[in-house]
Each structure stands twice: as C-alpha cells, then as structure tokens.
Amino acid sequence: MNKLFLIIRREYLAKVRNKSFVIMTFLSPILMVGMIVLIAYLTKINDSQKRIIAVFNESNYFSTDFNTTERTSYIFFKDISLQAAKDSTLSLGFSGLLHIPKRSDLEEVAQNSYFYSKDAPSNIVLDPLEDIFEERLRQRKLIDIGVSTEEFTTINDRFEINIATFTGEQNIKGINEMKAFIGGGFGYLIMMFIIIYGGFVMRSVIEEKTSRIIEVIISSVKPFQLMLGKIIGTSLAGITQFAIWIISASLLLFGVFLVFGIDLTGLSDPSAITTNPMSSMSPMPTTTNAMQLYALEFLQIPWFMLISLFLVYFILGYLIYSSIYAAIGAAVDNETDTQQFIFPIILPLMLAIYVGFFSVFSNPNGPIAVGFSLFPLTSPIVMLMRLPGGIGEGGVPLWQVILSIVFLIVTFIGIVWLAAKIYRVGILMYGKKPTYKELYKWLKY
C-alpha cells in the first residue's frame, strides 16, 4: 500500500511539475473563452451588414407595411418601368427588388409579385417579406369572414404555453435544451479527459519502456501496483486541473450573477420564487426577469447529484479506458505503433458523443439513449447527458443509473484484469510491434 502511494505521488508530481501541464491549466480556459468571444465577434461582423431592398409597388396595397428595421431598409421606386427599376437596383448594388404589380385583387397581387435578385436570395432576406404578405392575406381573409381590423390586431397576440412538471414546478422554455447542453458538456469533458489523460498514461508507460527503467521498478513493486499507481497519479493530476477550472469558473459565474444583479438569495427558497417570480421582485424590466428565471433554473439543476454522479462515472470510465491505454503503452515500443490499437478505443467514445448529441438531446428517455447509457463503454458519457433532467420522475429511472454503474464496475474489474496481464508481459517485451493474436497469447503467460 505504501509503495502504491509512493508511485502515485511520483506520477502526480511528474505530471504536475511538467511545464506543459502548468501552461495547459492556465492557458486553455483563456483560449476557450477567447475562442468563444472571437466566434461571437465574427458572427456579429458577418451579420452586421445592412440589407437594402428596393420596393417597386404599383398596387394599392402594402403602402405602410415596409418599414425600415435594424437589418433591412427599404427604398421605394415610383413611376418607372419595371426594367428601369431592375436596372437601377442592380447598378445601385441593392440586395434585391420586390415588384408588386397593379391588380385589382390582393390575392392576385400577391400571386404576381416577384422578388428579383442577382443570386438566389437566402431565407433571412425572404422571410420578412413573406411574413408581410402572409399577414396581409390572413387579415384579408378574416375580414371576408367578418372580422374587423381592430379585432384582427387583438386576436393576433403571440402566445407561449406555460409548462410545468407533474410535481407542480413551473418550468421555462429552453431549460431542457440548457440541461442537455450541461449534460453534454459533462459527457464531452469525460471524453476529452479520457483521451488526453489516457494518452498521458500510455505515453508514461512507453517512456518507462524506452528509458528501460521498467525492469528496475518492477523488481521492487508488482507490475499491477505500478500500473494502478500510474493511472491514479495521472488522473489526480487531471482532477487537480479540473478543480482549478471548476473553481475559477464558479467564481466567474458568481461574478457574472453579481454584475447582472441576479438575486442569489432566492436560492434559499427556490420554489416560492419559481412559482411566482413577480411577487418577490421589485419591478424590473421583463428581460431581466427571464434572465433571472434562467439563472435560478440553472442553479436549480441538481448540481450536487450531477457532480457526484459525474465523479462516479468519470472515475469508473476513466479507469476502464486508461487501463486499456496502459496496456497499449506496454504492448508497443514507441508512440507511432499505437495507432492501430487506439482507434478501437476512440470509436466507442466518439459513438457515445454522437449518439448523445443526436438521440439524447431529442429524447433523453428513448431506447437508443437508454441502451447507450447502460452499455459500459459509452455509459459514462451518455448517462451524464441524460442526468441533468434528474433522477426519478421525469428524469432517468433510478434502476437504470444503478444498473449502468453495476455494469461499469463489472467491466472495470474485467478490463483491468486483462489490461494488467497484457501490461505485465508487454513491459518486458522489446522489439517488434505485437499483433492482436500475440496479445491474446500474452494473456496466457
């Protein structure tokens, strides 16, 4: 036990003291934030170009409908021929020309209206124009069946349905997407961690082989102890890194809440606030209320459960994968030989992520989502994507969580046993790259 501790400590320190580790810990969040800011900025630039649309309206309708908005301005042509309108639109470099012909009936006008442009226009350009036509046509039809214009504006209210769970908690729209993204984030984190830190374990094993220290070490400790110590030490280094990230992210989030004036005291009695958010608030603009709701809902996600289960899935999943990585490291002499063995490991991880993003997001309790969240090689990722919905009613049934953890533990024991056998033989083998057949033989040595 004491030796295991020594090995863990060495592996941990070797990793943490490494310059690249320090740089990665502090630089990558900055890079990540920088990347998001950059993308947001670029998107904004991309969208900020203002469109000018020429309208050549010969009819008696739509005289007040084309109002210049933030993104689009309209320029009106009058008393010219269609050809002249087209020519000037082109020469002035406008986005397009909307021609509304003179007809007696609105429907006929609409049928014969054309939008001319240089290239096929995008939906962003067409949607507002179509909306205007639809609106007018609907109004017209309603007038035909006896609804007045005033009545029309009153019935045209937008409506969003109120949603709640069976337990009576009020929900807000979009929260499920948010939860899925949080779960997806955790799943993605696990995948990245496995790939990065599994790779570290593998390289560390290869390093011991190439530096030829391995035989010196295993004349003092059991190969299994060394493998376990290496995996644990490396993952502790990874957890240190994540702890630094999580703590700094929480501080940042707290800072954001503070800056935006979101009342964190509401946390102490969240149900009171979510059922009737207006009562406890001083009058605030509705946008802040929505934001506040999101923030509270965000804080209402069962973080404790989520983070504890994240740790369980993370530790088990990581141990399974990293012992495979350790076995691969032991089987080969250098990193270039690892490719053919690594691919089969990455495969279930990628599958988990894609299945997660496509099936779990659309239906967290569908058969595919359930299946992949029970299968031990994908469950750490897929289950975590399902978990932000909670356990029990409305979320993941408890038995599925327990079953997937049991599967994981059984798989963990089996894989570690196999990996340790390959590891034990592999670390003392130099020379050619083994085939799968030879790996199978090693199991029997």
């Binding site: 035989e215 004349s219 400790v221």
Partner: protein
C-alpha cells in the same frame, strides 16, 4: 543453510517456447556466482524469477532458507541488463524514490545515499536531471540505487556494459568489496572472459537447460586434460621433436634454429609429469613448462559441443 538461493526443478514456458527446462542450482552464501550462457539461454528468465517479476510454471525457489516470497524483494538488489532511469527526474529525488520502493525509510535512504554520493564524489549531481548526465554517470547512479538497501543477494546482469574501462574497474572493485562484506552476488554474463577473475562458482545455461555448475576451480580441474605447453632450448630440435613425437601426442610445434628454441604442446596420458620431465631434462634445458588450463570459454564450448553430440 549455506546457500542464499536454491532453485529446484524450475521450469518456465512462454507459449510453446521453453525458457527454462527443469533447472536446479544452489548459490552459496557470500560468494560471487557466475550465471553464464549465450544470449537466449534463459539467464534473464531465471533472474526474473528470482526477482519475482515472472513466476515459474513448476519448481520452487528457496531464498535464505524460506520459500521465495514478496517480502524478499527488499533483500535482493537487481541491476538488469536493460536498465535506465527516469530522464526528466532529478538524480536525488529519483534515487530516494527507488530506495523507498525497496522499503527504505526516507531518512535512511538519504543517509545511505549521502555515503555513496560522497564515495563516488558525485554529491553535486543531486539536483541535476538524468538527461543532463552522461551515460557512464547515469550508470553510477544506477549502481548506487541497486546496492543502496544493502541486500543479502545482489544480481548483476551484464554489469559492465556501458561503462568505460576506468569506471568498470571502480564498479568491479565495489562488487568485490560488497562480497567481502558478506553479500552474495549473482553475476550474469555471456562474456566468459570476465568471469574468471570474479566468480568463485559458475553455472552454465544453454538452450534453457543447466549443463554444468560448480566451483570454478573444480570445474577447471575436471576439464583439464594433461595438456602442457613446453619451451626447450637445444641443438637439433627437429630430431628431438621426431623422437618424442613417436611416444607422445605433440601439437603446434615450432623450432627456431637461430635461437635454438623449440616450443610445442604435449598431451600426456596421465597427470604424472615426472617421467616426461626427466626425459626432457636429460636432452635439453627447459625454459618453460606450463599446464594449459581451459578457460571458461573453452569449457563452455566443449560442454555445449559434447551436449550437441549426445543429441
């Protein structure tokens, strides 16, 4: 119990390949024991079994009177043939780590390391990384780490490979000193010539089998075949050579007319040299008469050949 280590009928297979076939040997306490054989004979496998890195399929190993157990690791020091150190770790830290893995306490390890570092005058290497040291320097660290925990049994697999002659001598002297202090030493090599001056006992492994073992002087005695190298000074050497050639088995003879020097090798029928010497001294003056004792290498080649002839 005068043996530090006894192996009884140890067999080890890797798949279909036999690495050790029913090998038994006994390593006496406080001796240097040469484990000899060509590459692939099974030396390393046997050593790994002693170090409990691999385990025999059948047979047993007894260490200091007890069946070999995990706790014996602390009483064994092993310098493998394939050896190295963590390149990016500092010398002192690394030596401490390896010593602690062998079961030394940190303070003990520090104290002992200081002794050895002072002895080799390398105290200022403590905070340097292995990758900054030359290969020979790293080998010294490796040697220190191997012997630091004062094991009862030391196993050196090709200890001199990688050392320049000066450092090889320093290490050789240290090995002899360790033996004088009471340590038993297994010395594994395929270079037979390095064995003669160090080893008291040897075992020869060939194709996974032990083909010979025992005290080196006894083995040599057993293998000597009454061959003598003779140098005489006399006139008419050729005639004399003809005369004795009829009676004795003479080979590689040479007569230098100018210096009147006759050299030849003779195979006597018994180890009684008196009558032959009487014959020689009656005809000439003898300037040398030496028994040619076979080298370990000769013994090895002979034994292997005899073995293959049998099969």
């Amino acid at each position: 119990m005068n043996d530090i280590l006894v192996a009884n009928n140890v067999t080890k297979k890797f798949g279909n390949q036999i690495a050790l076939n029913n090998v038994s040997l006994a390593i006496p306490k406080n001796s240097i024991y040469g484990l000899l054989g060509p590459n692939g004979a099974g030396k390393t496998t046997l050593i790994r079994i002693i170090n409990q890195i691999t385990f025999p399929d059948s047979g047993e190993v007894i260490f200091d009177g007890e069946l070999l157990q995990p706790h014996h690791i602390a009483s064994i020091g092993y310098l493998p043939e394939e050896r190295g150190l963590y390149k990016s770790m500092k010398v002192g830290e690394q030596a401490l780590y390896l010593a602690q893995l062998k079961g030394l306490s940190k303070s003990d390890a520090k104290q002992k390391l200081k002794y050895w570092f002072d002895k080799f005058e390398i105290g200022d290497w403590w905070n340097r990384k292995i990758q900054e040291l030359s290969k020979g320097m790293a080998q010294k660290i490796q040697f220190i780490v191997t012997v630091l925990h004062e094991p009862k049994l030391l196993i050196f697999d090709e200890p001199f490979s990688g050392f320049d002659p000066i450092n090889a001598n320093i290490i050789k002297d240290e090995i002899i000193k360790l033996k004088e202090k009471g340590t038993s030493i297994i010395f594994s090599t395929h270079r037979m010539e390095s064995v003669e001056e160090l080893c008291e006992y040897i075992a020869l492994l060939h194709n996974a089998e032990k083909i010979l073992d025992g005290r080196l002087v006894d083995i040599k005695k057993q293998y000597k075949n009454n061959m003598f190298r003779v140098g005489l000074e006399l006139e008419n050497g050729e005639n004399f050579l003809k005369l004795i050639s009829d009676k004795f088995d003479i080979s590689s003879s040479h007569y230098d007319v100018n210096s009147k020097q006759l050299d030849f090798t003779v195979q006597l029928p018994t180890d009684d040299t008196r009558s032959f010497l009487a014959l020689l001294s009656s005809k000439s003056s003898i300037n040398n008469f030496v028994e040619t004792i076979p080298t370990a290498n000769d013994i090895f080649i002979q034994t292997v050949q005899r073995k293959t002839d049998h099969e």
